[in-house]
Symmetry: C2
Subunit: 341 residues, 2 copies
């Protein structure tokens, strides 16, 4: 009989130490080979077998057998999508890559928007395996680590044009919005505000992974009376806070694929002071929607001159490039392309 | 146009707080509806949309957007399997449920052995969604939480019959093998050994998740001179240790789907003292391969009488029920059934 054995990839088959599942798979596989069956083992490349070995990865992945509830629900979801696929002209996925194997076999046009950073080591073998899955980037810079993807377009994020109201006259404070994590560089934002002697409002959540960073690096800085730490804030508070700010400080230190809060600021008329990482150079129009800076010195100078930026120009830039209507039009063009191609 | 939008399920669409991806999906979806397209959104049930909502789960899953490298490699693996499916008579999966949506569409007979515990809450909706995926349990008790699975057989794990050698004369010590975690109850094993005034060798690894438990609950107990903590041990050490033990102590406190170490003990002729959880009553033959006990008092009595168990009877039980040959034969019966059904 021709038999495929599909093993988890967490441990080699057989495993080096513990790993009951992989050991049993090994015993079963070798026994079937021994009995004369034609066996193929899909397992990590450090496996040892008399069967034909097909290895999706060179090394076994990690010792802990991690199982996650979210995976069950995404598996259910993909089955639902597959079952109903023929009802649709286009399937638009936003679920990373989980659906790739099934999407390419469904016979319905599909496209995937990649929302995350793409410089993770496991994505190189993944996208080399799936070179013909149509993908959309949310900035051109996001694509850099995966030039072999089947890129159909960059579609910038958009907001409903009435989601934020234009605020013609700003208050007198800076704002920092987002997560508190090393790559978001709240420490830089604090330094800029204090050097300018301006109040800084901080609306930011702290992920579990960043709690130690917050306690050690950020909390000691927050004692200054010019700084207001608000924790995680809701949409309404954010609108208020962002709309009346003199500027949004966005001194990031990582290749952020798309800085949504920047276009939220623009839509209120609030200019942005940003470091030019990731998507920032594509989103910012230097001197029009704020200033792009490469050092704290420049940032402080830009912050002191921020009144030179016309708030109406920021709003106009938003309307010209970053509305939900633009986004939808751009996606519809992609859908049409898929259907006519 | 008829468009499906497939969102991650981590946050509702739109999200309650942060969650850039789900917000953008919401903006896009509503805009497409607004433009007159027929849009279906596959997203968590707490989403709000003008599109048709299809919810694989009632609530969004969790706030952290977790991405895991292992998922990329298992995705590659499933694509490899799918591409080659027609080469095989049978596909035998050991990868939980990740492959269910694609396996059922491949047109090749397939079966999945479930190696883990099945009393996790997310598995109920999952197996209700996939009632016709042929599955095999590794003990009858393992099935209890999922009676609606398409169970084709229980196939007990097996070991190559020459993997361990029969040791006719035991040494004079007990052994505990496995992980150190609350449900494995090393504390009970220690108590049994000390009450019998017997040495206990402990060959056990400590997962990251169990480090605090080890430090707080177990480490203080290990100071006694009768106890030898060896940490994680290799296969060869294990054979030596297990083969010459007076008995394996297996006082578990959880529904272990299959206690592989019990049949390893049998194959050396080493009897087992076990609490009757999970698969234990199916694997143990009380009075033949050791003793099943329900209290520490009984366990100590059993340990003192363990010389009444014939080591040859343990080995014979192994040869009768738990060799790799038996396991392979049982699986081949399942494969044949699938092909003729």
């Amino acid at each position: 009989m021709k038999i495929a054995q599909v093993s988890p990839l967490f441990e080699s088959v057989p495993p080096k130490h513990y790993g009951g599942t992989e050991r049993v798979i090994s015993y079963l596989t070798e026994e079937l080979v021994h009995q004369g069956h034609e066996v193929t083992l899909f397992a990590s490349g450090d496996s040892t077998t008399e069967a034909r070995l097909i290895a999706p990865c060179a090394q076994s992945l990690r010792p802990e057998m991690l199982r996650y509830p979210w995976l069950a629900y995404h598996t259910i979801q993909m089955d639902m999508v597959a079952e109903m696929a023929s009802e649709f002209d286009v399937l638009h996925f936003h679920t990373d890559y989980l659906h790739f194997p099934i999407a390419k076999r469904l016979g319905t046009a599909h496209v995937t928007t990649l929302h995350g950073r793409l410089d993770l080591p496991e994505l190189e073998p993944l996208y080399k395996r799936f070179p013909h899955i149509p993908v959309v980037s949310i900035s051109n810079s996001q694509r850099a680590p995966l030039p072999w993807g089947d890129w159909h377009a960059t579609v910038y994020h958009g907001l409903p044009d009435n989601l934020y109201s234009f605020v013609p006259e700003a208050g007198n404070y800076f704002v920092f919005i987002g997560r508190i994590s090393p790559e978001k560089r709240l420490d830089r934002a604090i330094d800029i505000a204090l050097q300018c002697d301006m109040p800084l409002y901080i609306g930011a959540k702290i992920d579990k992974a960043d709690e130690a960073y917050f306690e050690e690096q950020i909390k000691p800085l927050l004692r200054h009376p010019k700084l207001q730490f608000l924790g995680e804030i809701g949409e309404r508070e954010k609108r208020e806070l962002l709309g009346h700010a003199t500027a949004l400080l966005f001194p990031i230190d990582w290749p952020e694929p798309f800085g949504l809060v920047m276009i939220e600021a623009f839509s209120c008329g609030t200019p942005v002071i940003a470091y030019p990482h990731g998507s920032v150079p594509e989103i910012m129009e230097d001197g029009v929607t704020g200033y792009t800076v490469t050092s704290q010195e420049e940032a402080v100078r830009a912050a002191r001159n921020i009144h030179l930026i016309d708030r109406k120009g920021c709003r106009e830039a938003f309307e010209r490039r970053f509305t939900a209507t633009h986004m939808a039009e751009n996606y519809l063009r992609v859908y049409q392309q898929l259907l006519s191609g």
